[in-house]
């Protein structure tokens, strides 16, 4: 016999050995990939406490900002009323617009609070204002934007009611911010949902 086939009698065994070896190799690869791909930003049960902590901090911040001292307007409401409709970003020293001419965010208690709490602790944050128009269509605009939130970001929201008396010049406010009067017949203006997204860098 030229190929001497009948000399090799353990064909099945070699196949099983090959399967075994490849199984071990694949298992090692899977194991290493799973072990190393756990970054601090990977959403998992391990950072459930960090998310709970961010949630508490965010809720505390928005609660504190909605306190009306001496019966005045709460800080959060004043911030919405003072908003010029622009999107601000933290540039390392202040909240400012990106496109020139560059404006800095002036006298915003929301920005001051975030600078004191979130910026100092390396917590990335976005703030959005959302509202409904007369037809019930929801619209949302960014107030402070620092990029797309990661998988483990938490969102905290607080609703602020505006009346025509608060707004003052209604047409001017609408062209500036895009927040429309949801009911023209009454003194009710709109409800703004302040949404804050917080996540760890």
């Amino acid at each position: 016999m030229l190929l001497k086939i009948e000399k090799e009698t353990h064909a099945q065994m070699h196949t099983l050995e090959a399967i075994m070896a490849s199984l071990i190799m694949v298992a090692i690869i899977v194991y290493t990939v799973q072990a190393t791909s756990l970054t601090p930003l990977t959403s998992s049960t391990a950072n459930a406490h960090i998310e709970a902590q961010l949630q508490t901090m965010g809720q505390d911040m928005l609660n504190a900002l909605s306190y009306s001292a001496y019966g005045h307007d709460p800080d959060l409401k004043t911030d919405i009323l003072n908003w010029d409709g622009k999107q601000y970003v933290w540039n390392g020293t202040a909240y400012s617009t990106i496109k020139s001419p560059i404006y800095e965010l002036q006298s915003s208690s929301l920005a001051r609070t975030l600078e004191f709490i979130a910026v100092k602790r390396g917590i990335a944050h976005n703030v959005y204002f959302s509202w409904m128009d007369e037809e019930g269509v929801t619209a949302s605009r960014r107030y402070i934007y620092n990029g797309d939130p990661s998988n483990n970001a938490v969102v905290i929201s607080k609703r602020v009611q505006l009346s025509n008396g608060d707004v003052g010049n209604v047409t001017d406010f609408e062209t500036r911010t895009g927040i429309p009067d949801a009911d023209n017949s009454t003194d009710f203006y709109n409800i703004v949902n302040v949404k804050m997204a917080l996540w760890r860098m």
Partner: protein, 155 residues
């Protein structure tokens, strides 16, 4: 000479055992060291509970809509008490059970400085659970408010 292509039953059994062993090792090695890792689950829960108790009950200014509005006299009293009567305060917070006892450290920080700190020093190499609360502290006489960060550390 053994000219049969079939494997022996012994070989099949041993391979089965071996493969089961491989699968077992890979499914358990990932969790095998977990008990020895730093783990602050229980102290974190205690820190959460203690912080809620202190902020929303002991120091609270009593505003239902604003649980984190606190009275500055009450806050001052709490820090004095924790500083001078540490053990009774720990007992009153339910941190002293029959088998386990936990320690507490609380600090208050405003935008510029640490204004209060009380409790034990944190020893090195322990699992510490921390909860931060952001509070609005109201001065009773003037009505002025100040934003303060309270850090509760439990171990």
């Amino acid at each position: 000479m053994d000219s049969k292509g079939q494997m022996t039953i012994d070989y099949l059994i041993s391979i089965t055992v071996f493969l089961l062993a491989v699968v077992f090792v890979f499914s358990y090695t990932s969790g095998i060291f977990t008990p020895f890792q730093s783990n602050s689950d229980e102290v974190t829960l205690i820190a959460d509970r203690v912080s809620t108790n202190i902020v929303e009950k002991r120091m609270s200014a009593g505003d239902e809509g604003l649980p984190n509005l606190i009275n500055d006299t009450k806050m001052n009293d709490f820090f004095t008490e924790l500083d001078t009567n540490y053990e009774p305060t720990i007992d009153s917070l339910g941190m002293n059970g029959s088998y386990l006892r936990y320690d507490l450290n609380v600090t208050a920080e405003n935008s510029t400085d640490i204004i209060y700190a009380a409790g034990e020093q944190i020893p090195p190499r322990v699992n510490v659970g921390q909860t931060r609360r952001i509070i609005l502290c109201r001065d009773d006489d003037t009505g002025d408010t100040d934003m303060i960060i309270l850090s509760f550390r439990v171990w």
